[in-house]
C-alpha cells in the first residue's frame, strides 16, 4: 500500500451563515489550505467533494462550488453525494493507483435555510417510510429506546457522553455549542424526541472543511509531521431499518477491523456521532476502551455540518497528530439513517 497522509486542513462552522453563499464561504477555506502548503490548484492532482443539494434546497449548488477551485485550465475532479469523508476515500484510492501525488478534498453544506431533521427524512425508502415523514430525531429515538430497554445504556451514561462533549466543544473555536453543562442538568432536560434530550442531539451548523492528501515523499516535503492513513475502510448496512439491530453497528465493526483499529494502542478517536446514542454504538463497535479520549473536538454534538462532519473528524484527528498531541488516532465518518454507512480511518504520526 502506498503511504498517503493528511497534510493540511481548514474548516469553518457556524450556527448559520446568512450572508454568504456556499461557494463564497468555501473559497477562502480552499485558498487557505492550498496556501498553507504552498500549492496552487494546478499543482493538485485530483479534486473531490461531498455535498447534497437537498440540504440548502438549491439545485446543483455543487456545480457552482467547483468554480471556487479555479478550474481553468480544466482539472481532474469528482463529486460524491455523501459526506466529504467519502470524497477523501475516492481520492485515497486515486492516490493508491499512483495516478496522482496530491488531492484536494472538501465537504460543505448550509442546512440553516431548511429544517435538517425533516430534510433527512427524504433519504428514507420513498415508498413505505418517507411518506410518513419520520424525521431524523424520531428515527434515532427508536434506536435509543431499544438500547435503553435492552439495558445497554442508561440515561446517566448518555448524559455523561453529552456533558463530556460539551466540555470538549467549549475549547474548540469551531464548535457552535460551547456552553458546558453538568450531567445532572442534562438529566433534567425535557425530552425532545423521547427518550432523546436536547443535549443528546447534535448542534446543526453551516460550514465546510477542506483537506489536502499527499503521498510518500511529497507529503514529507510539504508537512513537518504528516498524519499517515494506515488503514481506511467503509461498509454499509442494509437500508431497511427493520433488518438491522439498531443497538449495534455491524458495518462500523467490520470497517474498524479492516482499518486495523485494534492493531495497536489508540490515543484518541474522532467519531461522527450525531447523537449520544451513536457515540455509544460506535465506541462498542470499534472496541474503544476507557483509555481512549473520545471526540476531543466535541464532535458533532458540538457542531454538526451535514456533509462535512465526517471529513471534519478526519481533519481534527490529523491536526492533533500533526501537532504531536498523539501518535495514533481513529477517525470515523457516518452517513444515512442511524449510521447506515460507516467509514473508519486510522491515522498515525511518524
Amino acid at each position: 500500500m502506498r503511504d498517503v497522509a493528511v497534510i493540511a486542513s481548514a474548516q469553518r462552522q457556524e450556527r448559520s451563515i446568512d450572508n454568504e453563499s456556499e461557494v463564497e464561504f468555501m473559497v477562502p477555506l480552499m485558498q487557505q489550505v492550498k496556501e498553507s502548503v504552498g500549492l496552487t490548484q494546478q499543482d493538485i492532482g485530483f479534486t473531490c467533494s461531498g455535498s447534497s443539494d437537498f440540504i440548502a434546497g438549491q439545485a446543483f449548488s455543487f456545480v457552482m462550488t467547483i468554480d471556487g477551485t479555479g478550474p481553468v485550465p480544466p482539472i481532474s475532479e469528482s463529486h460524491v453525494e455523501m459526506d466529504g469523508a467519502w470524497a477523501l476515500y475516492e481520492a485515497w484510492v486515486k492516490l493508491q493507483m499512483g495516478e496522482v501525488d496530491t488531492a484536494l478534498i472538501y465537504g460543505y453544506s448550509k442546512s440553516s435555510p431548511g429544517s435538517l431533521r425533516d430534510v433527512l427524512a427524504t433519504q428514507m425508502d420513498p415508498y413505505y417510510v418517507a411518506p410518513l415523514w419520520p424525521d431524523a430525531f424520531a428515527i434515532e429515538a427508536l434506536a435509543a429506546r431499544q438500547m435503553l430497554e435492552a439495558g445497554k445504556v442508561d440515561h446517566q451514561r448518555l448524559a455523561e457522553i453529552a456533558s463530556r462533549a460539551r466540555t470538549h466543544a467549549a475549547t474548540n473555536p469551531h464548535a457552535v455549542r460551547r456552553t458546558e453543562k453538568s450531567v445532572e442538568d442534562i438529566m433534567g432536560e425535557a425530552p425532545m424526541a423521547d427518550p432523546l434530550r436536547p443535549s443528546d442531539i447534535s448542534a446543526a451548523a453551516d460550514g465546510g472543511c477542506v483537506v489536502i492528501l499527499a503521498a510518500g515523499d511529497r507529503a514529507r516535503e510539504l508537512s513537518d509531521r504528516p498524519a499517515w492513513i494506515r488503514g481506511i475502510d467503509h461498509r454499509t448496512d442494509a437500508h431497511t431499518l427493520g433488518v438491522r439491530d439498531l443497538t449495534q453497528s455491524m458495518s462500523a465493526r467490520i470497517a474498524g477491523e479492516k482499518a486495523g483499529v485494534g492493531d495497536d494502542k489508540v490515543d484518541f478517536a474522532e467519531l461522527y456521532a450525531p447523537f449520544t446514542t451513536s457515540e455509544y454504538v460506535l465506541t462498542e463497535a470499534l472496541g474503544l476502551g476507557d483509555d481512549v479520549v473520545i471526540n476531543p473536538s466535541g464532535g458533532a454534538l458540538g457542531a454538526h455540518t451535514m456533509m462535512a462532519s465526517g471529513l471534519i473528524r478526519i481533519a481534527e484527528a490529523a491536526e492533533r497528530i500533526s501537532r504531536g498531541d498523539g501518535d495514533r488516532a481513529v477517525a470515523h465518518a457516518g452517513s444515512g439513517p442511524v449510521l447506515q454507512q460507516n467509514l473508519v480511518c486510522v491515522l498515525e504520526g511518524e
Binding site: 450572508n19 454568504e20 430534510v119 415508498y127
Partner: protein
C-alpha cells in the same frame, strides 16, 4: 430490439395495456404511487448575488471583477472561476450587448405559459462583460430567420414601478438594428476585456 429512434412514438411501457400476473387478476392494478413531498427553505442568495439583485432593481447590470485577470463575470457569484479567488470589486456593464449563440425553441415548456413558441433563447454578452448568460430575444418585428450570432441587442426592462430585486426585471432583449458585432473568439475564457467584441 434496438432503441426507438422516433420521438413521436410513446415508450413501450405506455403504449399498451398493463399486464398483470394471474394471481393478481382480480385486483385493480397499481399504476402509480404518490409520495407527498414538501420542504420549505428560506434561501439567501449570498453577498454577491444580493448585490446583483439590488442593482437589478435600479435597472443596472453588475459583474464581478477577477482580482487576477481583470475579467468581468455576469452574473456575479462572488468568485472568479478563472483564478478561484473571491472577488471584491464589482463593475457596471451595459444593458446592451451581442448574441454569442442562440436557439429557436418550437415546443412549449410545461409551466411556462408566458413563453409562446417559437421563441429565441440566446446567449447574450453585455458590453463590458467577459461572459454571457441565457436571455430571451424578442421584439414585435423580430423575424426569426434574421436572428444571428453577432446581432446587437438591448435589454427591455419592466416599467419602473414594477421593478424588484429580480433578474426577471429584464423582460427580454431586442435587436438594436446596429451593425453586427464581430465575434472574434468563441472561447469564453480569454476574451479581451475591452468592452466585448468590437
Amino acid at each position: 430490439m434496438g432503441y426507438n429512434q422516433d420521438p413521436s412514438v410513446p415508450p413501450a411501457a405506455l403504449s399498451g395495456a398493463v399486464s398483470i400476473p394471474d394471481a393478481l387478476a382480480d385486483l385493480e392494478p397499481v399504476r402509480s404511487v404518490t409520495t407527498p413531498l414538501r420542504m420549505e427553505y428560506t434561501a439567501t442568495p449570498g453577498a454577491s448575488l444580493s448585490k446583483y439583485l439590488r442593482a437589478m432593481k435600479e435597472k443596472r447590470i453588475i459583474g464581478d471583477v477577477c482580482p487576477d485577470t481583470g475579467m468581468v463575470f455576469v452574473p456575479p457569484r462572488g468568485v472568479s472561476p478563472v483564478s478561484g479567488k473571491r472577488t471584491t470589486e464589482t463593475v457596471d456593464v451595459a444593458d446592451e450587448g451581442y448574441i454569442e449563440s442562440f436557439n429557436i425553441t418550437r415546443i412549449p415548456i410545461k409551466g411556462r405559459d408566458d413563453l409562446h413558441p417559437p421563441y429565441v433563447s440566446a446567449w447574450v454578452v453585455p458590453d463590458g462583460s467577459n461572459t454571457g448568460s441565457i436571455a430571451l430575444v424578442a421584439g414585435d418585428d423580430l423575424d426569426l430567420d434574421d436572428v444571428r450570432i453577432g446581432m446587437r441587442v438591448k435589454a427591455v426592462w419592466k416599467p419602473d414601478d414594477e421593478l424588484e430585486e429580480s433578474a426577471a426585471n429584464i423582460l427580454h432583449w431586442e435587436p438594436t438594428g446596429e451593425p453586427d458585432a464581430e465575434v472574434p473568439d468563441m472561447m469564453r475564457i480569454g476574451r479581451p476585456t475591452d468592452g466585448g467584441a468590437q
